[in-house]
Subunit: 552 residues, 2 copies
């Protein structure tokens, strides 16, 4: 049955295509450097119809010049592209679909463009492959969604194509590696061309072309939360988290989601948690972006080490001056990397974040009717790490609490959601049925878009108390534990008071007084910083907030 | 409550320590290049007591010269190191503990050194922090186990320290990034110093020192399986996997573990699976090393894309000549990367591997009494990907079959274990209680060392049949489904025949005849290659097996 290989088959079509594209592109470049004014014909020369194209669009950094230029190419030359991109944040990201440059889309997160995307999907202009988490989409770059052409953004490049990303390295290494090592065309837009880059974040070897964009790449400060807006309810919830979860389990390695709820926790570490003697015991290592609200906890010696997925505008000088805490390059500025940060967070002991809706099984979703958003990295952080094997105190404690079938003992990652019982516009956070079910129908998704699944969730924290789902023996108990912290929402009011009392006895429902939290202390006085200006002061003037956050 | 930062505290102790070490090391170097003869005093100059040290020891590639040199340093100068290393495979890896150079150890896999390690642990010479999976340990490099000094291995370096790893890039990027960006000393041993590296795998920027080793670095061909040794029982099991799992669910993206069982599957793709019309439908994208037994499936056009964790000795020319299939650098040779390969496999649709013992809950373990081994990457591949959100046919099918509490529909990764009912020395693979429980006691581990947990497992394949655990409604059914394929082992003989018959009716137990597998075809004739020589022929002479596999 042995057959010999068919000698006639070509096995290097991608490589030969790469060389052809490179030769076509060279007409618009000097060495690797493309003339910005020629960018549209250049793209028409190197991109082919039906290509898979990745446009770097991270949480923060965007290859916006290249994205906008793609939307200007002739649809006769370039059409039916398959865009494989993490974040759709800018109008050109959708323009390419509106005009037919692209047709198919695999992505992670749409945010503000979600409404327009929904319309384009309804009109048949976008065929959505799937909505991914960050780690999943990058993984597929190494499997069935490898880009033929990728656009990345960097701060500087030299003539050899060596790239310097500055602190916002973010997703660049994942995109670059998948593209450059599968004969893909890698095009970098940079803020400036220099003789020598401050450090090499991406070797020039891997980069096909570089273009100096007319304007520095777009960057969004999405991790800045003004302490002035934090409420006393959020302070109370933060106190409950510190005592009822961080102290109880001894959580030293963790990830904080984005939002005011977790910002409140960060700001009471140097006050409330310090008074409890928890320094050196909790919150020692974090996998997060350099959120400005972390500054007081860092300065107090609470948080010892932080690895970042990306950077945050205004935090450049601060992170550079705190090299014992942050990951810093030989040039003295921060290096971020979303892949490693997501992984470190996934295998850490706790994830805590906020959400918009929670159902009676504990499934939570940030999906909103009429718009397609997506999950970002929350499900990677906020899910059980089943591939984990190393023990740690909080992981083993949570595992010992957990009800599970069978005799084999296990550890358990702590996955916590923090919500107020009523959200914006006084709509209840707790619902019998998530809007995600409607969304599934509207957008013909295979499953309702759930951010954190109920069986991944271990704790739910509201202003009323903490539901510890690990201690619930049945789905019915889980439902009542959730109702037991759902306050005056219809879900909360419909609780079975007797069962909630029993759950409270066994610790599956805990109120402030059960864990020694004195509600009278829950004032804004407990916040180590109460304004952006305070954060600047804590940083010794190193934090330089974007002007929209400066109100003094 | 606002306090100002204490201006007196130093925040750059790591960076200052780095500069001091660099200056001390420079005495033994010309530029970045250390003189090989000075390696011992050089290491004594740059390493300090209690440092965390990472010695690159991958599945295959080893920084063996540096490891051996570390074991020669003065224990007065260097002692009490904390080794954070994935694989302990070579005697010097343990010599450093025996002589007191190192004391604490966090690792992934010990393999042949497991016996000696057990002795050193018992003697108190090694304090084991924890046994990790690969992804976990790398993750901790970015959290609480960041190395102060790392040794990596590469094929070539230039005077600036740019490294070329060749196809065995493996773990290097993860180690390098964690070390270089947290003020760690990165030392590379290379096979040769060159004027210009064929491609840059690690920018010189990130590398502190380079040393040309007296001998090329050690490398192990651990993914080579001689088809001559594959049995007809393995062929039968492979046929059942193809029909009962790959065809049923439409598995296109997957990871194969290491071993003869999965090699048998690979070798019947161009014969059995092709006859079933499955080309283009199953096994299209794989996250694996370039196992020689994949050659016929690649040549037949079955497997379209492969991303590799590492390389395999003898496969260099073949992978380079198949750039449409493998990930290849601009220089034309393969690039591997364990992190991305592990991630791609984790988020793919199926993992299949072999194990040594399985209990009645479906927990499996490769742990052996009296030796400490570890898990490697199997648990990362072989666990439910709870952070996954994108749909695919097999994932949704498996999710629809799965029994779960609550109303929220889910997808499910297929996790398959293949075993013969009796293993080496005719000891039964199926046991009431895993040896892992004994090991836990002996080595004082927090949990029994389980490789794949029963609740992550979806299918168990033996020569008797397939147990589909997704379709089991209770733990009792699960137990009987396992007994139902456990053959003549005591566990198999103790089955409840009536319940197994009921499980067979609902598809939770399937025998060859239930899935249209004709046992008479299960002969070695079905193997597309029946020897290493056949593999070489399939490759058109490109595969160049190591001499120990050449018997013609």
């Amino acid at each position: 049955m042995l057959e010999k290989a068919d000698g006639a088959r070509a096995w290097d079509t991608l490589e030969r295509s790469y060389r052809t594209r490179l030769a076509r592109g060279a007409a618009f470049a000097t060495g690797k450097t493309v003339r910005a004014g020629d960018i549209v014909p250049f793209l028409e020369a190197v991109i082919e119809p039906h290509d898979r194209v990745c446009i770097e669009g991270n949480n923060q950094k965007h290859a916006d010049f290249l994205a906008a230029s793609l939307a200007k190419t002739s649809t006769e030359t370039i059409h039916d592209l398959h865009i494989v991109q993490s974040n759709l944040a800018l109008p050109p990201h959708l323009d390419v679909f509106e005009r037919g440059t692209a047709r198919r889309l695999d992505f992670c997160y749409a945010g503000p463009q979600g409404l327009r995307m929904a319309r384009l999907v309804a009109e048949g202009k976008i065929e959505v492959g799937a909505i991914h988490t960050y780690l999943e989409l990058y993984s597929r770059y190494f499997c069935d969604l490898t880009p033929h052409v990728s656009f990345v953004a960097a701060d500087a490049a030299d003539a050899d194509g060596n790239l310097y990303t500055g602190p916002n390295t973010e997703d660049t290494p994942a995109i670059v590696e998948a593209t450059a090592f599968k004969s893909g065309v890698l095009i970098a837009q940079v803020n400036r061309l220099v003789d020598r880059v401050p450090r090499v974040d991406v070797p020039g070897d891997w980069v096909s072309f570089v273009v100096e964009a007319p304007k520095p790449h777009y960057i969004e400060p999405i991790f800045t939360r003004d302490p002035a807006v934090i409420t006393e309810v959020q302070v109370l919830m933060a106190m409950m988290v510190v005592r009822g979860i961080y102290e109880k389990y001894g959580v030293a390695r963790l990830n904080h989601g984005i939002g005011f709820d977790t910002a409140a926790i960060e700001l009471i570490l140097p006050t409330y948690a310090e008074d409890l003697g928890l320094k050196g015991k909790i919150c020692r290592y974090m996998s997060v972006n350099p959120c400005p609200t972390l500054i007081p906890a860092i300065e107090s010696g609470f948080v010892e080490g932080i690895h970042c997925a990306g950077s945050e505008l205004g935090m450049e000088a601060y992170t550079a001056a705190r090299s014992d805490v942050f990951f810093i390059g030989r040039d003295g500025t921060m290096r971020s990397n979303r892949i490693f940060c997501q992984l470190a967070g996934h295998y850490a002991d706790l994830f805590i974040g906020s959400t918009l809706q929670i159902d009676l099984e504990g499934n939570s979703s940030t999906a909103t009717l009429s718009r397609i958003t997506g999950f970002g990295g929350a499900p990677n952080f906020g899910s059980e790490s089943r591939g984990r094997r190393h023990g740690s105190e909080p992981w083993l404690k949570a595992g010992a609490e957990q009800r599970r079938e069978g005799a084999m003992p296990r550890g358990r990652k702590l996955v916590v959601q923090m919500v107020e019982t009523f959200g914006d516009g006084m709509s209840p956070t707790f619902v019998e049925r998530l809007d995600a079910w409607e969304l599934q129908k509207t957008f013909d998704m295979p499953l309702p878009p759930v951010m954190v699944y109920g069986d991944d969730l271990t704790h739910l924290v509201t202003e009323e108390g903490i539901a510890n789902l690990l201690l619930c023996d049945t789905l019915e108990e889980r439902e009542q534990a959730i109702r037991g912290v759902a306050g005056y929402t219809p879900v909360g009011l419909a609780r079975d008071r007797e069962m909630v009392a029993r759950l409270r006895e066994k610790g599956a429902v805990q109120y402030a007084e059960d864990i020694g939290v004195d509600k009278r202390l829950a004032t804004r006085d407990l916040l180590a910083a109460r304004s952006i200006k305070d954060l600047v002061a804590w940083s010794g003037g190193l934090y330089d907030p974007p002007s929209r956050f400066r109100n003094w």
